[in-house]
């Protein structure tokens, strides 16, 4: 039973970290209807940025974080302006292919700029695990969970309370109508990429610390797909719930099945779950259903 609790708690904590990455994806999809295959690579890029800045030793962590966030916002703006905006009005498949291309470009660029070797991203967090009721909890997981929860709450408030947040949801709903109320749709697109950049910065810091920084870090982006499809492509709440489910399921599956099959369970079980969910709820648990009036 203790083993089960251990798997559950750690699965949920990892799940929140998935949610943090998934939120960046959801933000872009929600406002611009672009499926961004490069979200994991943005996370990787942010992690490299943080590791390089900390490695130079010019700045302490508290100074690196705002610089990193600003840099990622700038990168978001540049990507939107330079690559995505010219594609407005083009078929969805073109846009998807472009984001896949972008993913490879970012990986290549990171390798060229910063060499391919794995770097460390040290955060001032205790390494020895806490033991709570026989369950081992790694402190970085707790930091990650708190960061994830805080940023998810912040995003939630932003979307329901702020003028820009409501405007972003309006644009997601009906672009022409949002123009008629005076919303600058292009600015909203740019803004959503910028915010996705911030989410990638948060994800990059935490995942970079956990796994070490190299181009393989971009693979966390692949975990985003089961998460957002479970939760619904355009729902922040869905990203959280989807993240928790994926984290939980893969942790439990790995704990109980790995000894029999020799490992690797956690890499495919989320996808099996994703396919099952697609059978019953194509919009995911919290995805936007299409409102039809008869």
């Amino acid at each position: 039973m203790e083993f089960f609790f251990d798997l559950t708690v750690n699965g949920l904590l990892v799940g929140l970290m998935y949610a943090l990455v998934a939120v960046g994806f959801v933000l872009i999809y929600k406002a611009t209807s672009v499926i961004n295959f490069a979200q994991g690579d943005l996370v990787m890029f942010a992690a490299y940025g943080a590791a390089v800045m900390l490695g130079l030793g010019w700045m302490p962590l508290w100074a690196v974080i705002p610089v990193l966030a600003t840099g990622m916002v700038a990168l978001g703006f540049v990507l939107e302006r330079g690559i995505l905006r010219p594609l407005i009005g083009q078929p969805v498949i073109s846009v998807i292919m472009v984001t896949i291309g972008l993913a490879f470009v970012l990986q290549g660029l990171a390798a060229i700029l910063w060499k391919a070797g794995t770097r460390e991203l040290p955060l001032p967090v205790r390494v020895e695990p806490y033991v709570v009721g026989g369950v081992f909890i790694s402190p970085i997981n707790v930091v990650a969970a708190v960061t994830a929860i805080l940023s998810l709450v912040a995003f939630g408030l932003f979307f329901t309370r702020s003028r820009f947040g409501i405007a972003m949801r309006a644009v997601a709903d009906d672009q022409q109508a949002s123009m008629t109320v005076g919303i600058n749709v292009r600015r909203v697109f740019a803004l959503s990429w910028a915010i996705a950049g911030i989410a990638a910065a948060a994800g990059g810091l935490i995942w970079g610390n956990m796994l070490g920084v190299d181009t393989f870090l971009a693979l966390v982006g692949l975990k985003v797909f089961p998460v957002v499809i479970l939760g619904g492509l355009d729902s922040i709440l869905g990203a959280i719930v989807g993240g928790l489910i994926v984290g939980l399921v893969e942790s439990i599956a790995a704990g109980y099945l790995d000894p029999y099959v020799g490992g690797g369970t956690k890499d495919f079980v989320p996808y099996v779950l994703m396919i099952l969910v697609l059978f019953v709820r194509p919009h995911g648990f919290f995805g936007r259903e299409i409102i039809e009036r008869v």
Partner: protein, 283 residues
């Protein structure tokens, strides 16, 4: 249709002699660089007036409104000749969001509410250009005109009735404090009672908030009852313009748009149907 014979009147009409809030001067609109949709449309909306833009499906009413609001450019259309002036300033090169800041708000055909946002959030999007300073009193102002929206404020807009959606679309436009509202087919798909109710509210808005209205409608009877001035469009041209009462009395208009015969009686349904069939085949 040659039966409507009055030439486009570009000299000052009665609406034109009052200070024109909006003046559209001989504009030509081309879609996709090749398709000529509007062929020299001119019209004026006076400060605080209600002007009806009548015509059949495809006559160019919506295109005219979109040319004014700037929405045309998002549909690959372009104003290639002529000018649109609002309070003496040219606006036909502006983006839709800039036009809203100038004081013109379009209420699109088919309502276009944000279906997944609540009724109140829809209204808040309308206040986007206002910077959030007077949002509370503005909301109360809109709820004052449309009490039904207040009852529905927490509902998702996609699930309220068609009439309520139309009210919401107008209320949302009102939140931007427009000087001119472009209403595109507000009667579409609504029960006659509701149409009456909505038109009466629009007339009140016009009087009490001093919002001028340019109203594109197929329901000519209703539109002419509330407007002071009317224009009739056909095939991308203005073919007739004049006082609302004059237009309502025009024999051809009665025949073609109001479905009345010369004696003022409603045509029998069979005749109307016959006429419509003929029209489609010939034109």
């Amino acid at each position: 249709m040659s039966a409507v014979s009055a030439a486009p009147d570009r000299t000052d009409t009665r609406a034109g002699t009052a200070r024109a809030l909006l003046s559209v001067n001989n504009i030509e609109v081309i879609y996709d660089h090749v398709i000529l949709v509007l062929k020299g449309v001119s019209l004026k909306v006076p400060e605080g007036g209600i002007v009806a833009l009548l015509g059949a499906n495809g006559a160019g009413k919506s295109t005219t409104l979109k040319a004014i609001s700037g929405l045309l450019r998002t549909e690959r259309g372009d104003v290639t000749k002529g000018a649109i002036e609002f309070r003496g300033e040219p606006i036909h090169r502006r983006n839709p969001n800039e036009v809203v800041r100038h004081g013109i708000v379009q209420v699109m055909e088919g309502r276009h509410v944000f279906e997944h946002l609540t009724v109140e959030e829809n209204l808040l999007t309308g206040a986007y250009t206002q910077g959030g300073a007077r949002t509370k009193p503005d909301l109360e102002m809109v709820y004052g005109y449309f009490p039904r929206l207040k009852d529905r404020r927490g509902f998702r807009a996609g699930y309220v009735s068609g009439g309520e959606q139309q009210m919401l679309a107008i209320g949302r436009a009102l939140m931007a404090h427009p000087r001119l509202m472009l209403l595109d087919e507000p009667s579409m798909g609504l029960a006659p009672m509701l149409v009456q109710e909505i038109f009466e509210i629009v007339a009140r808005l016009n009087r009490e908030e001093n919002v001028a209205v340019l109203l594109a409608e197929q329901n000519a009877t209703m539109a002419l009852r509330f407007a002071q001035h009317g224009y009739v469009m056909e095939n991308g041209r203005i073919v007739l313009d004049g006082d609302a009462t004059t237009i309502a009395d025009n024999e051809d208009i009665k025949e073609f748009y109001l479905g009345l015969t010369g004696v003022g009686q409603r045509k029998s349904y069979r005749d109307v149907k016959h006429y419509k069939r003929r029209k489609r085949w010939l034109s």
